[in-house]
Amino acid sequence: MKKVIPLLAAFFLLGILLVTGCKQKEEIGALPVKKEIGEPAYGDAIVVGSIGDARNLVPILASDSASADIVGLVFNGLVKYNKDIELVGDLAKSWEVSEDGLVITFFLRKGVRWHDGAPFTSRDVLFTYQKLIDPEVPTPYSGDFERIERLKIPDDYTVRVIYKEPFSPGLSSWGMAIMPQHLLEKEDLSNTKFSRHPIGTGPYRFREWITGDRIILKANEDYFEGRPYIDRYIYRIIPDQATMFLELKSEGIDEAGLTPIQYARQTNTNYFKKNFNKFRYPRFGYTYLGYNLLDPRFTDKRVRQAISYAIDKEEIIDGVLLGLGRIGTGPFPPESWAYNPQVERYPYNPEKAKELLAQAEWIDSDGDGWLDKGGRIFEFTILINQGNEARRKTAEIIQRRLREVGIRAKIRVVEWTAFINEFVDKKRFETIILGWSLARDPDPYDIWHSSKTKEGEFNFISYKNEELDRLLLEGRRTFDRDKRKKIYHRIHEILAEEQPYIFFYVPDALPLVHARFRGIEPAPLGIGYNFIKWYVPKEEQKYTQ
């Protein structure tokens, strides 16, 4: 699984949520799964709707969520999370971590075959590692692997990873999909047929990709955990949200992620109750507004705090999420053990906001309704990515509330790729609304450490705080859970006080699955983790070949 990927637009996440699962027991699966169980049977197909097409199916280059959805079914990592969010073996049968935490030894599963029949061995792991750290390969996932000093393969089924220094997030980083050496070693990864015709070890084999239309996967009958029940996985690309919903209404699609309004209101009809099951669980991530701290106006903590006071997070939860999510207070979601419940929360208080802004010398000196300082009015752009309704609405609400304290905000919507490449990476923004989809290990080093501000790195707001830097390093060197917890609680406190981000909310994932699919067991990780065990009883199968 990825370390930290920017939380893609809700529309990108419409696909099956195999990659990002979620926690918290009491809220899981808000609705009971309907219909009797029926006999497990092979066959049928599931049609999953996605707004965006995949771009690149080379696992270490797949950075959009459509590609990640497909990669998640075609490939395996060495480890994965089970439904209770504990790390378990995937391609690795077991592993050992040395006393000092510097060495992880993986013992690989024997008898696993690539979809073309070639055996999977430790050489594939070595190859994947080499490509991950190869500066010529433009992968966004190299960060965790650069901590490795050496990777040795004493035999075909053993991998020994030696870290430069203790690295607590190390083990979970091996959820990264492993690529076949025998097919790729002579290929240029940036320009290979493999990117449109992947061959992996996973439960589904790649079958066909009709650009912009659909991607078809077929069950891998020799899968090492057993043949998946559902024969075909069809990923349909439907660019328009409204069309997608109509397809759901006509049973053209079997699974899609819902928007809060769709979940709370549009699917409350008899048709949906009869034909679909809805699920709800918290996402492991949060949505925020980040300031470009190279902009002198935002370096003043009082200004950032004032803006936090000027915004009503409750209003955003009600208006944007219809209550299907919770307020964010810092860099960890409430489900994380690193979450500190006792931090500053910034309740809605426009008077206090104005007061703080006045302290920072932002006052309306000419009576035009906008604050100014040195002859310039307080005006900035909120950059958001296209296609994410929740963020667009959030931006509109903020725009309105800021207007009431005298700050003029403009909204600019940019498509995801351009958004990342031209604006985020190059720091060409004033403020930005984004989300982080987090790994289960809480280490937030990449987002907050002051060394991570180079182009393409994740501290693109250029935040710098010495105490935080120290704590971040300490956190990832510490293996003891209680000690780590204390460190992260302090980190949470600092960031809540400093407000380099406005932490808005932790949204819920709201998938909808056709009722003919059985075997879905909502768990802390979500619903996608046991996808290979989903089935349709013979008499209810819809797509027969």
């Binding site: 239309d213 690309i237 397809e247 053209g252 060409r428």
Partner: protein, 323 residues
């Protein structure tokens, strides 16, 4: 005929050059920083970014050299590779083109079948009830926002009545159908997009036909024909119609760009992986090689449309000799 064709093709060359220059110019609007976002805060970062961009596009060389380079490659149909997935631009466009052309040709046919009779009858019965009703009808088509109309039709035919598929081009089990079955399946998927696209274009053609017809009817030779005592039917359908139809051919050619442009909308709403959708996606992602390719190909399609129209015209109109 051959000489006429050669001459027409030769005439296209300056146009083609103009097209490439404009496409090239549009793209070079881009690397200049977006105006409203603060870039001068961090000279180092912007400088680096700018440099990388320059390197990527070869922008450090003089503009005319860049253009000539690009043109040279374009002639060899080498339009570079997409920034998004590193695939050849020509391949990406080619795989999308047939769908878009099919839909547009079908929609043109439908327009002609419906719009011409409307125009003719409107003209022969100017200010009649039919004239007025049909005027409102065709303008309704023009005035309805395409995507809204499409959604309404999808709800009506896809959900309420359940007669037609909502989106896409083929059913999921289409692969197992016979050839005829597949064709039928595709046809069912195309009904709504073609209808939506044609409905918007009715107005232009029918109104044009109407005014042409009116003009012809008032000409001397028609009056003469009437005076000779020919029946009204014979006058209209034998003499007037033929002459009024001719200019329509030209309009056909001219309507190509609007159709291609419009495909962006209905391909998005109907989830059809065509050229319009590709162009939109690349524009939004600033995938410059694909944008340039799309502009050039779109314009060339128009040129071809015009050429076909001209040839047809020359073929039908006895007054034109191929010189």
């Amino acid at each position: 005929m051959l000489r006429y064709l050669t001459r027409r093709l030769l005439q296209m060359i300056p146009l083609l050059i103009g097209i490439t220059i404009i496409s090239f110019a549009v793209i070079h609007l881009a690397p200049g920083e977006p105006t409203d976002l603060v870039t001068d805060l961090q000279p180092k970062v912007s400088a680096q970014a700018a440099e990388r961009l320059r390197h990527l596009y070869g922008l450090d060389r003089p503009l005319h050299i860049q253009y000539l380079d690009w043109l040279k490659r374009l002639v060899k149909l080498d339009m570079g590779r997409s920034f998004l997935d590193n695939r050849l631009v020509s391949v990406k466009i080619l795989e999308r083109l047939p769908v878009t052309i099919t839909i547009n040709v079908l929609s043109l046919l439908l327009i002609i079948i419906v719009a011409l009779p409307i125009g003719i009858v409107s003209a022969t019965r100017q200010y009649s009830l039919f004239d007025k009703a049909s005027t409102v009808f065709v303008f309704l088509g023009f005035a309805t926002p395409t995507f809204w109309f499409a959604l309404l039709l999808m709800i009506l035919f896809g959900i309420k009545l359940g007669w037609l598929p909502i989106s896409g081009l083929r059913s999921l089990s289409a692969a197992s159908f016979s050839f005829g079955g597949r064709l039928l399946d595709m046809a069912r998927h195309l009904i709504l997009p073609v209808f939506v696209s044609a409905f918007g274009g009715l107005a232009g053609f029918s109104r044009y036909m109407r005014s042409n017809m009116l003009e012809v009817i008032h000409q001397d030779y028609i009056r003469t024909a009437r005076a000779k005592g020919l029946s009204e039917r014979a006058v209209i359908y034998k003499h007037a119609l033929r002459n009024a139809l001719l200019p329509i051919v030209t309009i056909l050619g001219l309507s190509v760009p609007a159709l291609i442009g419009g495909s962006v909308i209905f391909e998005s709403i109907f989830a059809i992986p065509g050229m319009g959708r590709l162009f939109y996606e690349s524009v939004m992602a600033r995938d410059y090689p694909v944008i340039m390719g799309g502009l050039v190909i779109g314009a060339i399609l128009t040129l071809l449309g015009n050429l076909i129209a001209d040839i047809t015209y020359a073929y039908v109109d006895p007054r034109i000799r191929y010189k």
